[in-house]
Chain length 133, copies 2
Amino acid sequence: MSLANSKRQFRFVKEHKSLTEVLMDHELASLGDSYINFVYSLTLSAKTGKPSGAKVKGDVLAEAVRTAKLRDFLPSRMSRHALADAAEALVVYAWLQRRMSVEESAAMIAGGKDTAEGMVKLLSAAMKRTTFP
Amino acid sequence: MSLANSKRQFRFVKEHKSLTEVLMDHELASLGDSYINFVYSLTLSAKTGKPSGAKVKGDVLAEAVRTAKLRDFLPSRMSRHALADAAEALVVYAWLQRRMSVEESAAMIAGGKDTAEGMVKLLSAAMKRTTFP
């Protein structure tokens, strides 16, 4: 079974028309949750020098959405949970679009002085690299 | 920050001398847990046609270790949890060694008639592809 078509696009990925559509896609966020935990675990492994597993806290992601100026693309009155979902959706969308590799994602998080700043770097890059028709 | 050295090997990965050493590495299992959940989520996304997130059940992994004939490389009297850890460690080790991509891992799981058989395929391939000094 091949997961991608001849353009190496994953068949199950809906092509979104705007950044807001991506950020509000809760299905993407489900997949993005597992993506972001994996790349963060890689970052942590590199930092500590030994393989490690960890989950990114929702609050860290919600705050990163604000700092990366993504808040303006979202409706007012969103829960912190919904903001964290938006971060997860965007990051995995960039990966699914082949705009950012797993290794790059992990290196971006590692490039911040702490996890919070690293997540802002990751979100900013994902925002810049995703394209819309 | 670069996570890999000039040979594209991740710096934090210890070079193991045997399959048993890999299977018994609990640190690798922590990272492997997040890897396997991500690739399984990709498989599920492809199968259902929409982005999805899911965790692989430990029992499925423990059973796959037995079916893939990896049990002989492990001490007797291991808990199902420890067997699941062994599966997670091996699969991410193959990825860290650049022997198997994320997409291939997901396609292998998808190649089974169900998740259980897919995990056996993934483990068998990881076992064949990892090399030792």
